[in-house]
Amino acid sequence: MSIENKEFKPKIVAFCCNWCSYAGADLAGSSRLAYPADVKIIRVPCSCRVNPMFILRAFEKGADGVILCGCHPGDCHYSTGNYYTRRRMSLLFSMLDYIGVENGRTRVEWVSAAEGVKFSTTMNDFAKTIHSLGENVRLGDIRCKN
C-alpha cells in the first residue's frame, strides 16, 4: 500500500429508504456493528426517490462512491418503488460503466429493517471496494477538489 492510499479518506454517500434500509442502519447502530465513518447516510422515503441526478451530483461534488439501499424486492413499503429503482439503476450503472467509470463506485443493495448485520457488512465491503478503487477522478468536478 502506498502512502497516498493510506491518506485517502473516501467520501461515500449512502441513500437509504426510510422503511427498511435506514432502519437497518439504525439496527446496525444499536447492535454496535461498526463500519467506516466515511459512509454518510441520506434518508429518503423510498429508494425510488433517488434521482440519477443525485448520484451524479454526489460524484461531481467529490464523492468516491455512492450506494443506494432499499427494501428487498417485494417488500417495498410502497409496494413497487424498488422495482422501478432496480430498472433505473440497472440502466444508470450500465451507462456509467459504458463511459468508463469504474463499476464498483456505484452499488444497489437491498437491506431490510432486520438486517443490521447485512447493513454493516455491506458498508464495510463497499468502503473496502472504494478504497481499492481510490479517488474518483473520472466523474468529479476539479473545482470541488480544492
Binding site: K61, G62, D141, R143, C144, N146
Partner: protein, 344 residues
C-alpha cells in the same frame, strides 16, 4: 518576407512553444478546433474553418472571475489573476481576425474588460490566408481580403512552404525569436498564391451578396417585419450559431458552489436561449421570434449603428454550414431583400 518548408513546421511550433503557449488548429476526433500545442496533437492547417472560432483565446467560453472562500462565518474574496504571459495564436483566418476586431469594439472601450484586455495584450496573432475558400464564405462582402491577412504576422501556405511576414512590432519580435528556422523569401510566391485565392473568391456564390437594406439606422424598417416569424418557426433555439460565431460576445455570469467556496464565472450565453437576459421579473423576449430577431438585428443593424457602420458579421460561413435547421445569416439578409417589400 520569410519562408519555411512545410516539413519543418513541427520544429517551428516546438520553438514557439518553448517560450510561450502556442494555440493553433488541432484535429481531435474528426473535428478541427483551436487548442494548445504539444508534441502529441495533430495539427491541421488545411481546414478552412475551425468548428468553434478562435475567439476562445481572448474570450473563453467559460472563465472564472473571482472566488469567494468561506472560513467560518467570514468570507474572503480571491480575484482571478489576469493573463500575464505571452501566447501565440497561429493560423487564424482573416475573417476570424476581423472577429477579434469586432470584439475589441466591445471589450476594449470604456469600461474596459480587464480580463479580455490582458489576453489581447499578451496574444500574438499569426494569421493565415485562405488557400481554398469555399461556397459558404462571404468575407468579401465585409471588405475582408482573405488573400491578404492582417495580424501581428501574416502567413501563406502553398504546396511546399509556409510564408511568414511580420507586420507589427509584436510580430517582428516573435519573428526574431524563431528566425533561425526561416529562409529569406521574395514576395513573388505569395503574390501567386494571392492571385489564385482571389480568382476563386470571385467565383464564390455569396461573393456578390448585397447588404442593401441593412446597416446602421435600419431598426424601424426591419423590426416589425413578419418575415422574422417564418424563420423563428424553423429555429430550434439551440446555441450552435452563437457558439461557433467569431463575433458573438454575449455572456452570462453564474456562480458555482464547490462546497467550500463559490466561484463566480462568466460564460458565453446565446440570445437564442429562452433564459437569455433572464431577470427577476422574467424575460424581455418571450418568443423565439423575438430572440431570433435580436441575434440578426444585432449583427446587421444595432452593431453597425453603434460602431460607425461596422457589421458584427465577418462572413466566415460557420453558421451556414452548421445550423441544424439550415437557417443562417445569409438567408436572413437575402429573404428580406426578396420579400422585404411585403413588410409593412
Amino acid at each position: 518576407m520569410y519562408k519555411i518548408a512545410k516539413e519543418k513546421l513541427p520544429a517551428l511550433f516546438q520553438l514557439l512553444a518553448n517560450e510561450q503557449e502556442l494555440i493553433l488548429p488541432i484535429k481531435n476526433s474528426g473535428q478541427v478546433n483551436f487548442g494548445l500545442w504539444d508534441e502529441e496533437v495533430e495539427v491541421d492547417l488545411t481546414a478552412l474553418n475551425s468548428v468553434k472560432s478562435p475567439k476562445d483565446a481572448f474570450f473563453p467560453q467559460g472563465e472564472s472571475l473571482y472566488t469567494c472562500k468561506k472560513d467560518g462565518k467570514k468570507i474572503e474574496i480571491q480575484q482571478e489573476e489576469l493573463r500575464d504571459k505571452d501566447f501565440v495564436i497561429f493560423g487564424m483566418r482573416p475573417c476570424d481576425y476581423r472577429g477579434v476586431e469586432v470584439l475589441d469594439k466591445v471589450f476594449l472601450v470604456d469600461p474596459v474588460d480587464s480580463y479580455y484586455q490582458a489576453r489581447r495584450e499578451h496574444g500574438i496573432i499569426v494569421t493565415m490566408a485562405c488557400s481554398e475558400p469555399e461556397e459558404t464564405c462571404f468575407c468579401k462582402v465585409f471588405d475582408i481580403d482573405c488573400a491578404d491577412p492582417k495580424g501581428d504576422v501574416a502567413a501563406w501556405l502553398d504546396k511546399d512552404f509556409l510564408y511568414w511576414k511580420p507586420v507589427t512590432d509584436k510580430g517582428k519580435a516573435i519573428t526574431e525569436k524563431v528566425s533561425s528556422l526561416f529562409a529569406e523569401s521574395d514576395d513573388k510566391a505569395v503574390e501567386t498564391i494571392q492571385e489564385d485565392i482571389r480568382s476563386i473568391v470571385e467565383k464564390l456564390p455569396y461573393s456578390n451578396l448585397s447588404l442593401e437594406g441593412w446597416g446602421a439606422g435600419k431598426t424601424d424598417e426591419k423590426f416589425d417585419s413578419p418575415i422574422w416569424e417564418s424563420f423563428a418557426n424553423s429555429c430550434l433555439a439551440c446555441g450552435t450559431c452563437t457558439f461557433i460565431c467569431p463575433t458573438c460576445q454575449c455572456y452570462d455570469i453564474k456562480d458555482y458552489n464547490t462546497g467550500n467556496s463559490v466561484e463566480r464565472y462568466r460564460c458565453w450565453d446565446s440570445c437564442m436561449y429562452s433564459d437569455f437576459t433572464m431577470m427577476a421579473h422574467g424575460n424581455n423576449r418571450t418568443t423565439q421570434m423575438q430572440r431570433f430577431r435580436q441575434r440578426f438585428m444585432h449583427k446587421l443593424v444595432y452593431f453597425p449603428t453603434n460602431n460607425d457602420g461596422m457589421y458584427s458579421c465577418v462572413g466566415c460561413g460557420r453558421c451556414v454550414s452548421k445550423c441544424p435547421s439550415s437557417l443562417n445569416i445569409v438567408k436572413v439578409i437575402k429573404r428580406f431583400q426578396e420579400e422585404g417589400g411585403k413588410a409593412n
